[in-house]
């Protein structure tokens, strides 16, 4: 048994990658391929939390399981759309890794950055490694001026009010120590991307060691965007909530 462990480059660390999906039939196959391509010597599992996608996402996941193995790809579906936070909690229940990665299924988060997350965590023993789009080496493609304006405005406001300790608050490409994720997620109650903000702010308040790695974010190649119109109001409400309760 000893040489099985030695073959896996990172020793005994196992990484559970939780990917919530809704109508990501094509993207999920692409992202699974890319994860396997970029994490060749790493012990990992992919946990797909699908919220009853009508487009056949789960069938594709089952085909991927035949190809890559049911121990590497776990399908832990739910009956209907129940939200991101609960998707992570659901995935976490089935995670057997020491570390948990959360990422989006739509290819805006590229698996090629996974090695840099892992490396950063091993170098610094950080509790959380979060991807940031807003520093040199990172970046965004596919955003028009309006989008950049709202993103930058939202960021400046959040930095001024919350002093969050990270440059990218709403990003959701992150690596957590499993115990840290369990601790932080249990105290979060928000929905959507405010939930992502709440997670990182609560982690900062609790004193967890957080590191950042630059990531590039290519917006929406396939699939339909799930961003709606009342985002600004929700965001402001979220900021005030975080200001008062963290």
């Amino acid at each position: 048994m000893a040489d099985v462990k030695e073959r896996k480059g990172d020793g005994k660390n196992k990484y559970s990658i939780i990917i919530p999906t809704y109508n990501e039939r094509l993207n999920i196959a692409l992202i699974v391929y890319l994860i396997f391509k970029h994490l060749r010597d790493v012990d990992f599992e992919i946990i797909v939390v699908d919220d009853g996608s009508p487009d056949g996402t789960q069938e594709i996941v089952k085909q991927l399981q035949h190809l890559y193995g049911e121990d590497r790809i776990l399908l832990r579906a739910r009956a209907k759309k129940l939200g991101l936070g609960t998707a992570y909690i659901h995935g976490l229940k089935h995670a057997t890794g020491d570390f948990v990665v959360i990422m989006d299924a739509d290819l805006s988060h590229h698996p090629k950055y996974l090695p840099s997350f892992i490396k950063k965590q091993l170098e610094t023993n950080a509790s959380i490694v979060t991807g940031t789009r807003y520093v040199k080496g990172g970046g965004v493609h596919g955003w028009n001026l309006m989008r950049k304006l709202t993103s930058r405005g939202a960021n400046v406001l959040a930095q001024t009010l919350l002093w969050p300790g990270v440059s990218d608050l709403t990003g959701s490409f992150r690596l957590y120590k499993k115990s840290v994720l369990e601790d932080v997620i249990s105290s979060c109650v928000s929905k959507g991307y405010v939930f992502q903000m709440e997670m990182i702010v609560r982690a900062t308040r609790k004193g967890y060691h957080i590191e950042e790695v630059p990531i590039t974010f290519v917006d929406r190649v396939f699939g339909t965007s799930k961003l709606g119109g009342s985002e600004i109001v929700e965001y402001l409400k979220g900021l005030v909530y975080l200001l008062l309760t963290t």
Partner: protein
């Protein structure tokens, strides 16, 4: 302590300093009364400046879209030869 408590303490400290300034009258009172307004306006301007600078320096990565398309093509080829039903995209 909660973050909002930190912020409120800061506000209280600054207000106390302002009131002291008013009472001590080192600076003419008419000026001192306007200080909070100057402060809020400066803060607003600073915020707008940071947004403007941020937009100008916003890191973009057009080459990543090209790379992504390559990755997608590579993935599609692998998946279709291995029996995954990619569909008509």
């Amino acid at each position: 302590m909660k973050h909002v408590v930190k912020i409120l303490s800061l506000v209280v400290a600054v207000s106390a300093f302002w009131i002291t300034l008013l009472q001590a009258a080192i600076v003419p009172q008419s000026h001192t009364w306007l200080l909070p307004i100057y402060f809020v306006v400066s803060l607003g301007c600073y915020g707008l400046l940071m947004v403007g600078v941020g937009i100008m320096q916003f890191p973009t990565c057009p080459q990543e879209a090209v790379l992504l398309n390559h990755d997608i093509a590579e993935a599609k080829e692998f998946l279709s030869t291995n029996g995954i039903d990619i569909g008509t995209y």
